[in-house]
């Protein structure tokens, strides 16, 4: 069934991404917005927009019945969940199906199988995909957790059973940390997924986070689009992603790809999904979980394969076959993504909501800006901090890094603090350029990150003093003979920003 009108059950940059994909296919788009989001970019860009309730996500972006009701009222025939919110909620997928709406994502059963991380681990085990040792069930109590952790051996990792995106994850180095880590992980998991259960895994030392993108159609076609390396993380939140991984060669890619496709097939998976692995220093990979949705970092795969993942999601949801096989998927060059978050990396990474008074995005050759904001927009305090994703492509990893350095230097956000300065220090770090990555990279590098190198102190002082000087001069009568022609002096004209 052809999709004619689609409701995007999300906000921010991913809602904008989906709207763009729909527009290119001639699909009309319906945005939804909470009371905090009337002026959000996705509302401005969609063909239609409907209010869905208060700022709190639980009462708006997570309100299944409201969303299905708006979709029907707007005459939509499909729903795209984006990532986060209800993207991995089988109840929502089922409610869409029950209402006759095409859900742009996997069948509810596949979401359920993979959403329950412990069930997913059983599928992986049954399909001979290697895994990190851990519990196949959530731990029922602190006491059980203590016993299991001891059996596995510290350090262990706590993970949300219904999780994804790093929420509810905690590394526990030794037993005394366990109780507090369980509390924090459960609280975060409960808040994020409405289910506080956690399970345990043995922590792998200095692992890389490498994930495989898969696409599966409703006719049995399954392909993988290669890997993304997402080892640059802070508190399990990815910050920099790339494809290909500097640690993966064609042979390893093929083996990981086969393992990922095997899991997708076993789960009856349809649509775009991602199989996450840890890769250890010896090149062994271990299944972590499968994310049954589009990932934040999907653009790096798009840039190297030339395959538009949102377009493929929409085609697959409409029942079309992939129309190509594994041999048709080719990779060219290297792509890197940096997440520009409204956080202050020099003040404990505190979120930095507020009004973006100045915004100049990077552009030019092979620079892609997937943004959810605009100049004048006020970043609300209710949702995550992701403002925009900056993606570059280059013929090889070195060229891509050079381009990312250039693009980050061009990207200016004024009014809220962002991760840009620390991203610049990451991509210029010798270990990053050498491809020496692990999930511990950022913790190792961050202590050396400086707020201000004071490289531009003199210029800053000159700018500040001239602003004051001109403010003083404007208060005086205009000098005789002063002209106002093109190219002449213009400081202090009306509108000096407050």
């Amino acid at each position: 069934m052809k999709i004619r009108k689609l409701l995007v059950a999300n906000r921010g940059e991913i809602a904008v991404r989906v709207i763009r994909g729909c527009r290119e296919l001639g699909i009309a788009t319906v945005a939804v917005y909470s009371e905090a989001d009337r002026e959000a970019l996705h509302v401005l860009m969609a063909d239609e927009a409907y209010p869905i309730g208060p700022a709190q996500a639980a009462e708006s972006y997570l309100a299944v019945d409201t969303l299905v009701g708006v979709a029907l009222r707007a005459g939509a025939d499909a729903v795209h969940p984006g990532y986060g919110f209800l993207a991995e909620n089988a109840t929502f997928a089922q409610a869409c199906a029950d209402a006759g709406l095409t859900f742009v994502g996997p069948p509810p059963a596949a979401i359920r199988a993979m959403g329950d991380k412990t069930a997913a681990r059983r599928i992986a085990r049954d399909n001979r995909v290697p895994m990190v040792p851990g519990t196949l069930e959530p731990v029922a109590s602190d006491d059980e957790a203590r016993v299991r952790a001891q059996e596995l051996g510290y350090p262990v990792m706590l993970k949300a059973a219904m999780g994804g995106g790093g929420k509810g994850m905690r590394l526990v180095r030794a037993e005394p940390e366990l109780t507090e880590a369980l509390r924090a992980a459960r609280a975060e998991a409960g808040a994020a997924f409405g289910d506080a259960s956690v399970y345990l895994e043995r922590a792998v030392a200095e692992p890389r986070h490498v994930e495989i993108q898969v696409l599966a159609d409703a006719h049995g076609g399954v392909v993988h689009l290669g890997e993304r390396e997402c080892s640059i993380q802070r508190r399990h939140q990815k910050l920099v992603e790339e494809s290909p991984s500097p640690a993966v060669d064609a042979s390893l890619r093929a083996r990981m790809g086969v393992a990922a496709c095997r899991i997708a097939r076993a789960a009856g998976y349809v649509n775009a999904g991602t199989v996450e692995f840890l890769l250890d220093a010896e090149g062994r990979f271990y299944f972590l979980e499968m994310n049954t949705r589009l990932q934040v970092e999907h653009p790096v795969t798009e840039m190297v394969t030339g395959i538009d993942l949102v377009r493929e999601q929409l085609r697959i949801a409409a029942g079309e076959p992939l129309g190509y096989g594994q041999a048709d998927v080719t990779w060219r060059g290297a792509a890197i993504e940096c997440r520009i978050n409204a956080e202050d990396p020099f003040a404990g990474w505190l979120p930095s909501p507020g009004t973006i008074t100045g915004l100049r995005a990077a552009s030019g050759p092979w620079v892609r800006d997937d943004s959810g904001v605009y100049e004048g927009y006020t970043v609300p305090r209710w949702y995550d901090t992701l403002l925009a994703k900056l993606i570059v492509w280059g013929p090889d990893r070195g060229a891509a890094i050079d381009r990312m350095v250039r693009a980050l230097a061009e990207y200016r956000v004024v009014g809220v603090r962002t991760t840009i300065p620390v991203l610049e220090q990451i991509v210029t770090h010798p270990d990053f350029r050498a491809g020496r990555l692990s999930t511990g990279f950022l913790d190792r590098v961050l202590p050396a990150v400086r707020a201000n190198e004071a490289r531009h102190e003199t210029v800053a002082v000159i700018a500040a003093v001239l602003a004051e000087y001109e403010r003083g001069r404007q208060a005086m009568p205009a000098p005789a003979g002063g002209d106002d022609t093109a190219g002449a002096w213009r400081w202090g004209r009306p509108g000096w920003r407050r």
Binding site: P351, H456, V461, A464
Partner: protein, 169 residues
């Protein structure tokens, strides 16, 4: 024209700056060196500066009397005063440093945990309060050692930016 004398204060350091010129072309003297500066506002709050031919773009905003300058990806908060005014203001000697700490909410959110109680001694870096905002838990820590005098919030409470959370003596 006689130069106009200012004092720019940045990060606790104050330094004299002199300016002459106008109509976009200035001579600015600081740190014993004079710079030829060609400066234009290209848009509201955005200045293009050619400092001895080196090109910079600075976003200049005003924040409660201080000038906040974003340049080359770095942010500087600078207080600029006319030299005479600065002299008068600082004649009495530097004011005594602040005593104690008052922890205020750096952004609106919900308190998810209070880690200290009145009377408790804290070390620099001790966790005081955890605030949840924008889907993240953010731990707020003591900047110096001291004793907790007051705890004004409890877990579950919503707070606004600037609300006093904990007072340390």
């Amino acid at each position: 024209m006689a130069p106009v004398k200012y004092v720019a204060t940045l990060g606790g350091r104050s330094e004299p700056v002199e300016v002459t010129g106008g109509d976009g072309r200035y001579q600015v003297t600081l740190g014993g060196r004079t710079w030829e500066v060609d400066a234009r506002l290209t848009a509201q709050g955005i200045a293009s500066l050619l400092v001895g031919s080196v090109s910079h773009v600075a976003d200049v905003t005003d924040d409660a009397g201080r000038c906040v300058v974003d340049v080359g990806g770095e942010t500087y908060a600078i207080q600029v005063e006319e030299h005479t005014r600065w002299t008068i203001r600082t004649r009495g000697g530097a004011a005594a440093g602040p005593r104690g700490q008052t922890l205020v909410a750096p952004l609106p959110g919900r308190i998810t945990r209070v880690a200290v109680a009145p009377g408790e001694a804290v070390a620099a870096g001790s966790a005081l309060v955890v605030i949840e905002a924008m889907k993240m838990e953010n731990e707020l820590r003591a900047s110096a050692p001291g004793t907790v005098m007051e705890v004004r919030v409890q877990a579950g409470q919503a707070v606004n930016a600037g609300d006093v959370l904990v007072v340390i003596g």
